[in-house]
Amino acid sequence: MIQAEHLSKTYVLRERNGLFRRKSRREVPAVKDISLTLPPGKIVGVLGVNGAGKTTTIRMLASLISPTSGSLTIDGMDAVKHHLQVKQQVNVISGGERNLYWRLTARENLRYFGNLYGLSGRALEDRIHRLLALVGLTEVQDTPVERYSKGMKQRLQIARGLINDPRYLFLDEPTLGLDILIAKDIRALILRLARERNKGIRLTTHYIQEAEELCDFLYVLEKGTVIAQGTKEQLRSLFQRPPKLVMQEPDLEEILMEILRQRAGGTAETDRAAGSAAPGVSPEEKTGGGL
């Protein structure tokens, strides 16, 4: 179990005001006194508007940056002190196309990252083989990543995040920029990782539907503090009271959700094959949903 208590992170920015004037120091309190737990086998969601501190929290949990104050333990071990052991047991998957070597093929990427975790030989090759099959990239495993589509890169990122068979996974908007069908596959995969492989997963997302579908427990972050937490049921009762917990641009979001829901509700597989829109969805809306 990962246990964070009273975690805070204040970034210090040094900015130059004009070319020759002295740099000024500005402090950005990105995360303020957050406590959260992540048990194995559970999916814990973190919601919040842009800049709420979600990525900063993940970076602290993954030992990428050290907290300004607070304590962090992973299975009872002090994570700040033993950050190398922590790194063996966690991994981060973030949305977007960074975090891969574009000139290398999928297999070469995974091999390199495996080596960074001290894996090699038969065991590593077997794992790569399985991971590529898992994310459906076996056919293009020997094509350089730069020729991949966004979704393929994203799926390779997921394989990369699983290369060290981490016990805890931090997903930072893993379905960002993916079409709804791939996003759906990925959600199914996330669910399986938690339920079947007993991984503790912390999920950050802007798609509330995604959080609703996957998460066992939710935290809502705003301006670096937890403003609400609970299971879906507990939160749903909160959401009925209107203000405060609005995520972002609710109107657009609702429309988006509606489109998403319709798409996800339709027969996805045949849709993909035929390339046709789901009933009742106009082509424009369809593009919007793929966002």
């Binding site: 970034y11 210090v12 979600k54 990525t55 900063t56 970076r59 993954a62 990428l64 940056i65 050290s66 190398l84 052991q85 790194k87 063996q88 991994n91 981060v92 196309e97 960074r98 975090n99 891969l100 070597y101 574009w102 000139r103 290398l104 070469e108 091999r111 390199y112 990252f113 080596n115 960074l116 975790y117 001290g118 090699s120 350089p144 990369r160 060290n164 930072d172």
Partner: protein
Amino acid sequence: MLIVWSTYKRIRTGILRAVPWSFMVSRVATGVTQILFPYFLYRYFMKGNLSPAFLRYTGGADYITYIVLGSALNVLAVSTLMNVGRALITELREGTLEVLLLAPASRGPYFAGCLWEQTARALLEFGATLLVGALLGARLGPLFSLSALAAIGLAILSFFCMGLLLSGVMLRTRDTYITQNTLFVTMSLVCGVVFPIPYLPEWVQRLAQVFPLTPAVELFRSAVLRQEPLSAHPGWILQILLLSGLYLLAGVLWNRRLEKTMLENIFG
């Protein structure tokens, strides 16, 4: 060792898939122009007449061989420094630094992999510069002596150590262009690459001693021009080793500190 090898292979694969030739050609071209410019000055301006001072400073060296050896070692210095120095900031720019730091692997073998990968290329450029020099009439016969090769090895070691520190500077300032070009121009001017440093003002001569290229180029020349064994110059060897040690220590300490704060400067 695993990481040395896999980093080597990763960079090598990347480079082979990109544009390997233009990169190499541009650096060989730099080396060649570095030879050609003083060569023409010497041939057509000074009509082959060297001042007695030069002969005194160099122990009667022949000028063409003198500049060819200097320039070749300078090419080696530039490519080693550049590749080792830019390794991490390239990861930053290509968006792979975060995942690199996410893994528990340490940076030492990573840099060793970079060095290994780049030495193969740098030696090729080094060789090409020497070859062009030989065509212009440099006498490079004793190049393959044990002491000449050892001098090259020592030089590479010291450039690598300096590269580690340069890596820190580049990451800190987020700049590759100004840093590397200021450094490289300075080095090629003050380290005795194409003329002996006693021509320079005293304080510049003293400044030149902080660059391992200065003693390295002297050592290399003494081995090739005068076929002296390395043991004839313990002072230079000591200086190279001492500077390497200092740069290594500073580089390692600084990089260790930087890594903790580096990611705080990458915005989510």
